[in-house]
Symmetry: C2
Subunit: 369 residues, 2 copies
């Protein structure tokens, strides 16, 4: 007798699962009728439908999702490929984000299939595999790139997806995003209102859409306040604490340093504390900092980081809901949603205690020392 490659089945005294045929037999109906009754077809009498519903409930019948999938083409699962190593970026958010997705999926009687990748190529490979085996009906794409290979691939394959963030080629894309450009603009206006006139900006990384968008918000803020744009005041890319510190040092070493800095991400902003301290500048007093993300670590530094906080759990929920609607046939254009970030006014910003020239002097003397 032929022998397959794999071993035999595990499991204890697994009592046989109740199938749709069992229910049908119990009621003296055919499985087709039971199926239609359960799925809300109109050509089933109300009385029969009730009998079926009750019997199914009583017998503990639950359709096998993969058995349904073979005919319907839907496994009722949202897919997610997380690229985790990058900058340790969303680490603090991960828990909330996953909870949001999972809860929204569960509420709709869906599940979530996920994989983690360690590079862009890895992400692409895993995505292709999940699509090939149809392990999920659609995907949530976190951390959108300006040019997003994942979106291109899924579009070409005709597989539904939702972006967390926006992208350059909008056609056919559904998305959820936080209006971080508005937050950055507001940050500039808040600082301007407090008296700041030299306001710096530290971007994230030009390949991510969010970074470009936030910088646009920063520049829009300058325009609204009637402040000139000075490219010297835009620091180098920073997504980590170390690079944030580096960017801060460079900005403070300018001939006319900023009295306030707006950061693209909290992680980089936290990196500003040490160089500021070394330069003899008290954050929130001599140097104001406003950032974006709302990571928990921002509440542990002293003074606490003033930042725009994002509700990642809510984001996960909305993304899952949008994706499910997308999979069920709604047009992507109707599935675009943005929310505002919430400003957490804490201790890292305030009225400028020093002028730009004073800052420059203090930095210079600290360096000499």
């Amino acid at each position: 007798m032929a022998q397959p490659a794999a071993g035999k089945t595990a499991g204890g005294p697994r009592r046989p699962r109740v199938t749709i045929s069992d229910v049908a037999q119990e009621l003296g109906l055919t499985k087709g009728t039971v199926s239609r009754a359960l799925n809300g077809y109109a050509d089933i009498s109300e009385s029969t439908r009730n009998r079926v519903l009750h019997a199914a409930e009583a017998m503990g019948y639950r359709p096998l999702s993969h058995a349904q999938a073979i005919r319907t083409g839907k496994v009722r699962s949202v897919g997610l490929v997380l690229q985790l190593n990058q900058h340790d970026g969303h680490r603090p958010f991960l828990q909330d984000f996953l909870s949001g997705i999972s809860e929204a999926a569960s509420a709709a009687d869906w599940t979530m299939t996920m994989a983690t990748a360690s590079s862009d190529e890895d992400t692409q490979r895993l995505l292709a595999k999940l699509v090939a085996e149809h392990k999920a009906d659609g995907f949530i794409l976190p951390r959108t790139y300006m040019v997003d290979a994942r979106a291109e691939f899924l579009r070409a394959e005709g597989v539904p997806f939702v972006l967390f963030g926006r992208t350059r080629k909008e056609e056919g894309c559904a998305w959820f995003d936080v209006e971080s450009e508005a937050a950055m603009e507001e940050a500039v206006r808040i600082l301007h209102g407090l008296g700041h006139r030299r306001i710096g900006f530290v971007p994230g990384s030009r390949e991510y859409t969010f970074s470009v968008i936030r910088q646009e918000g920063y520049e829009a803020g300058l325009r609204r306040c009637g402040l000139p744009f000075d490219s010297d005041l835009v620091g180098r890319d920073a997504l980590s604490r170390a690079s944030g510190a580096e960017a801060t040092r460079a900005l403070l070493s300018l001939p006319e340093p900023p009295t306030a800095i707006v950061f693209c991400v909290d992680r980089a902003a936290i990196g500003a504390y040490e160089p500021a301290h070394l330069a003899g500048l008290a954050i929130g007093h001599d140097l104001s900092v406003i950032s974006y993300d709302g990571i928990p670590e921002g509440g542990l530094v002293s003074p606490k980081l003033s930042t725009f906080s994002v509700d990642m759990k809510h984001a996960g929920e909305r993304l899952a809901q949008l994706l499910i609607r997308r999979i069920e046939g709604e047009a992507p254009e109707t599935l675009r949603e943005t929310v505002r970030a919430r400003f957490l006014a804490r201790g890292s910003h305030g009225q400028p205690a020093l002028s730009s020239a004073d800052v420059a002097r203090r930095v210079k003397s600290a360096l000499n020392y």
Copy 2:
């Protein structure tokens, strides 16, 4: 015509998927033959097998996992229900843990189906749903309880599972665990070797197996060092920073306070820093602390926390591998594995600078002050 409840399908110009029948037709074979060739049956000639393999590759054929599942009963997916809100416990580990599981699963050509729950009941409900719909072939159960309802349920259902941790009823259980009892024992011996004679212990929570086991390790360490067990030196349960601080305060207020404290978890140990500071005790000098987990925050406090670090990514990998072997039929008794934790000797422990009586005096004067 009858109309189902749901809407119509989404998706663009999805090119039709190539099925096993397509491959069969291309080669002039039947789909049964193609299937057997692909699955390594012995009754297929080598030449035919090669033809099939090449054609399948060339045509880009990938079997639909849920179509296979309907006959084989296996969806090739490992399940995971994470209970996330509790004590914020595994938050720092989450990323590594998920990566480990996902990578091991991917390597075996499996995927991972996950859900998050917010309470024990929620966990149980989600688990039951995933089992009922057979969304996964087996489950990884993190954070084992002494009496684990999840394990009971899965055992009764005959669904394979692997524990991360151990449990009271071992029969039929496969597991992976870190020998935290050995770590706790070693912590005591290290402290004893440095000269400490009053060594306290702060447990986690008695309902978790790991906490009970670690306390056993602590007591074993005392015995090996010839130190008496003093129940006063066992503080109250602590899994959070706040409760860790509370437990520390209580221990330091004893008539004969400890000169060193062993903590069940890092998070609680970090809570020791503030009350020690307020009592005028320098951690690592006047009061030694050794803990367990190896969370990143332990490297941010000053002095850095001496702790036993666990490789959560490796744990995830092994758990997934064990589960897959379990699902494929191996006996649970052969699927039990433990590893040792790695000691990170950092700054929070050292030779006792003060005697127990000195500590008591200093605490008292600090309180009066």
